[in-house]
Symmetry: C2
Subunit: 240 residues, 2 copies
Amino acid sequence: MSTDLASPPKAILFDVFGTCVDWRGGVAREVALAAARLGVAVDAFAFADAWRGRYQPSMEEVRSGRRPWTILDVLHRESLDALLPKFGLGALDAASRADLNRAWHRLDPWPDVVAGLARLKRRYIIAPLSNGNVALLTNMAKRAGIPWDLVLGAETSRAYKPLPAAYLNAAAMLGLDPGEVMLGAAHNGDLAAARAVGLRTAFVPRPTEHGAGQKIDLAASDAWDVVASDFNDLAARLGA
Amino acid sequence: MSTDLASPPKAILFDVFGTCVDWRGGVAREVALAAARLGVAVDAFAFADAWRGRYQPSMEEVRSGRRPWTILDVLHRESLDALLPKFGLGALDAASRADLNRAWHRLDPWPDVVAGLARLKRRYIIAPLSNGNVALLTNMAKRAGIPWDLVLGAETSRAYKPLPAAYLNAAAMLGLDPGEVMLGAAHNGDLAAARAVGLRTAFVPRPTEHGAGQKIDLAASDAWDVVASDFNDLAARLGA
């Protein structure tokens, strides 16, 4: 089938949090359950936003070299332990904290993701290229039926996006040149970093990733190689 | 469904060359084609055996630390370049050598493998734990329809089996204790190394891996946790 591109890529790698799965809704759902079990009233979406708000700063400690390689499960847990008292949830016990931390392993895909990826998989190698660790991404895929060919990302690259090594090591592990690999993401900044080191780019908007009042990443900020409305449209545009 | 085990594992990782795929038949097939194009008569099975004969020595240079980390595609290519003149195939050009080296990416699974793994995947995380590099294992799986959840192995562990780190790093990347992971293999030595660091073990014989006169690994040498006749039997014994 024809594609939007003169020369299509061989592999399509995807950002995961926000692009493939609804982290805000999934985390809020599990925070609300944990709070209810404690009998505490909490703004679960505010908690999800605060937890995610510590995501970039926590990875920056690793990116900068101030901290040795540390997987996202550990960073998530440290952020969780810091936030719980601020939301009146400091009484949550260790087992409940460990379970709540795994809410990130149990996020639901947006409705178009599994069907679109199943189509893309027929023609392309598909894998996550996420800052999530391998266990997180594997458990998420098993639960949700996301049909990855393999799991790549910060942990296999040993570098957090948007560092160049995160993208380049993933391409190298596939034995591909950067130009043979496409990143699919809902975040213009991720695509800019991927393009800067030679990857192809596909933008898929997720206008409610941050809730109804989202102000960022509502549309493509640059002339990405492909702009699609969702993963089914992406598959169609890539001839899959 | 019931299993042979009181407490089944969460992930089953598989040796690939010999256990999942017929490397000898696949390599011989492609060597024969390359020789025919050159108009040279060659014993293609002898070539396959000689190529595989350099496998352990080439990895031992890396295991010992005498050589920095090097993926199997590179080791295979060096062995190929050394062997071609000995078989009268020194005239093979660079493009043909690169293509022949990728014969290892195009090996066929034994007939029970894809069906057995599809069953196991419903209940367990399944992945290769192979000395093959990620690109080799990914391309092999795409071509043959092997339904891995993810691709693990020497390259993601940065250690060649049977070094302990090869097994332990794979379990750690899945966020699992060694005892929650089972290795499936046709090689008693691989299983012994896995058991020594706490993994569960499953033996599946491949009595023609080395041809009709095979003398090794015809049967289980130890009381492995599971002994199955093929991957379908393994799935049945593991309740999948």
